[in-house]
Symmetry: C2
Subunit: 166 residues, 2 copies
């Protein structure tokens, strides 16, 4: 099973390309290209850390000492909405507990956050014979499948069925 860390070189190249096209894509999407937005996407693309809002805030403040933390939150959210960024997990807003401690995976409705268990026997084998990956000692894994549930699909037009913050 091939499985490898994305090298810093490839990451940086990708990031540079994305940044170059950012302003253009913003304008096409009807978004104003503000210095704050540029600074935030630049900070995000410059990092391999998958940063929190507060880390982006700290970075951006070096050049825009007056920027508001609220702007950082809002902008990161906007970037996700227009597809310029994503969140590592969509289940970050509150802890979801599971009494099933066997290895298994989850389907998550992107609208209402309903979660159901799934089994993917092949997946358990993904880490087989692999205990190291770069600087990481591997322990286990969990797949989050994104989906829309029936309920949310039917009530699609009206904006209901969601309780999350993000």
């Amino acid at each position: 099973m091939e499985l490898q860390l994305v090298s810093e070189g490839r990451r940086a190249g990708y990031a540079a390309r994305r940044l170059a096209e950012f302003a253009e894509r913003c304008r096409k999407g009807g978004l104003a290209v503000t210095p704050q937005r540029l600074a935030i996407i630049r900070a995000l693309l410059a990092s391999a850390e998958h940063p929190r809002a507060d880390a982006i805030y700290a970075q951006v403040r070096k050049e825009h000492p007056h920027i508001s933390l609220a702007t950082v939150h809002r902008t990161l959210e906007t970037l996700c909405e227009i597809g310029e960024a994503r969140k590592v997990t969509m289940l970050h807003d509150s802890a979801r507990y599971d009494g099933n401690v066997m290895p298994h995976h989850h389907v998550v409705c992107v609208k209402c956050r309903r979660i159901r268990d799934i089994e993917i026997p092949e997946l358990e084998r993904i880490l087989d014979g692999r205990s190291e990956l770069g600087e990481f000692t591997l322990l286990g894994s969990s797949l989050e499948i994104h989906a829309v549930c029936d309920r949310c699909n039917s009530r699609r037009v009206r904006g209901r069925g969601k309780r999350s913050r993000g």
Copy 2:
């Protein structure tokens, strides 16, 4: 690629078995078997919803109207520590942003929450030719590999290297 929802029947059977052995495992682990703990694990195992603390609280209050929400939080945390429960994701405490919007996956250090990108070409094929799963319309997926990073491994004995709440 086989991939299927865990049926309610199987889930319930598993839950019943776990519940039956719960008190015994608690005692072995040196944990007191309190009515609150029993009510909380019972509520968790009775649900297929992967509930939040507040949902467990609402359920448990039906039988223990005086229970404290703090106890529910504490107990769920304890259950995770002793391996009687888990969290659906360990990245629930704050949003982690990613400027890489290509399909890819992540290794996460369970101690310091450092995250790095990984690629698993085979994984992109997991949903291939599959657009439905039970009541869910599938969109995409993201694998969270749990690991310990080098930094945390070396400073293992002393209790440093963590900033998360959960």
